[in-house]
Amino acid sequence: MDNNVLIAGVDGASWNFLMPWINDGELPALKRLLGSGSSGDLKTVVPPLSSAAWISMVTGKNPGKHGIYEYLDESGRLLTSKSVKSEKVWNVLSQHGKRCCIVGVPLTYPVEAINGYMVSGVLTPHNEKVYSYPSEIMSLLRKYDYRISVEYEKNDPLIPDQQNVIERRDHFLKEIYYAMERKYLALKELMNERWDFFMFVFTETTYVKDLFWDKKEVVLEFYKKFDSYLDDLIKTYSAKNPDPYIFVVSDHGFSASPKRSFNFRVWMNNEKILEDKRTMLQKIVPKVYKRLIKIKLSKLLFLLPRPKIVRESFQRRIVQSSGIYYKYPGIFIDKSGMKEDEYEGLRDKIIPRLREMRDPANNSKIFQIVEKRESVYSGENSKFAPDVVVIPMSNYANVFSYESDKLVEDIKLYLPGRHFSDMFGIFLAYGGSIRKGKLSGVSILDIFPTVLHILGIPIAKDVDGKVLTGIFKQNSGLSKQEVTYATEKYYANLSEKDRIRNLLKRIKT
């Protein structure tokens, strides 16, 4: 019988907080899988955000190719599944006649027609009536009162978004539990069929940490529940799909929220990289704003939609007109009117200084990644990446602000946890002819080609990841089977398929 694969996605999980719990016997399913599978850290992409990371996993390509860096495009519009510029694993498998079921992967709305079922994940509009392919699956989802995500609705419209979340976190915790349970029940039913490839993602495992990272016992209780669901889902899936290859993976790690901030605007002014060209009005407004938001009543002014938009566009204008600015995950340089050697000179000046940067208060290193764009990304969508990629250490938040004149200072974020700096998720493979052991150097880009290898499908040459041949038992079929890359003719076939599909996309019924 042909091989089949199950991918269980655990958003935001990392071994550093899971291992102590596993060793204490708190997470028996993970412990069992670890005991007989291959495991290690899973290095994610920059930036370590769910959208960029999951899309990198399901395409095997870096963001420079698939074009997904965060949640918004360069003009501030929200990304959708249509923004992804590369073939996803379910496209390739569908083309090869493999049956796929995909549930809860971020950035899959609107859903695509695949050979199987698809239920979109986070970034689906909350009132959407149909978010499955085929639409008939909606009746199954409705039966279980399926929730794509949790809505952080407000009782008091004057409260800032994050303050609302943290003040009502006990209430939202119940909703996060509920959403996870509903998804688990729907998955159980969806698993009751024959599949070649099944992938689900629980985003709830990050939400609980966003809200409760300061109360580890709450996070542990939640993960114990998750662990029991995982156990049951694997059993359910395996009953219908014998001897599956199972991957338990996450998209990034997790940390406590940063306690210090580094202000790139101040640094660039100090280094004479950035001239302060603001008008008097532009200088006064941010400081007035900073004072005003401290007064309870004036919050009203800034929470109304219009002032909020005015404030955002005001800030964007002064930031972008500066010609050089920081926006996570890096420094953007306006090259127009700049000679190539001037541009390179500027980057060569910035990079070593930032790499050396230490916090004057405690001498801690501030940045973990400072690289030129082309050292991190490749592909035609690299042009949307920062000119210099800068990821801080987890205790630091990078800001570009005119509201303060201090280079490094204390900050207090509402939420206790964050993952803007956490480059390592979890990798765990189990079942089939997968051997037991530890593995290092696994990249999130490796999942896609490894799945194709297991299912006997040739890998396109522009895939960045590599097949994890080290996870297979010696002398097993898969360890002996050579990794197959697609021939030029094979591309011709696929491009004929693309031609047909693209033509059809233009024909509206």
């Binding site: 949640y71 609107p110 509009p125 929220s257 004929e496 398929k497 599909r501 059809l504």
Partner: protein
């Protein structure tokens, strides 16, 4: 005429000139057979028609977009 051996499949007839045309394309693109090529085209056509019928060409409205952004802000994922 396309003849299929598999018992889960049936035989259908198409005009000979069309079959010749399709056969050439199928060979150039290295499809296993004319049948797999025709099946592929039909599957794609049907799935696209279905998705159009079910959902139309979906886009996210500005209002929905703001709602999603608000949620991302609530969790600190957006400034």
């Amino acid at each position: 005429m396309i003849t299929l051996a598999n018992t889960d499949e049936i035989t259908i007839s198409i005009p000979k000139d069309l079959a010749e045309k399709l056969k050439k394309r199928a060979e150039n693109a290295e499809f296993d057979s004319l049948s797999t090529y025709v099946t592929y085209i039909l599957r794609q056509v049907i799935s696209h028609i279905e998705i159009d019928e079910n959902e139309g060409d979906k886009t996210i409205t500005r209002k929905d977009e703001e709602k999603i952004k608000e949620k991302l802000r609530s969790l600190g994922y957006l400034d």
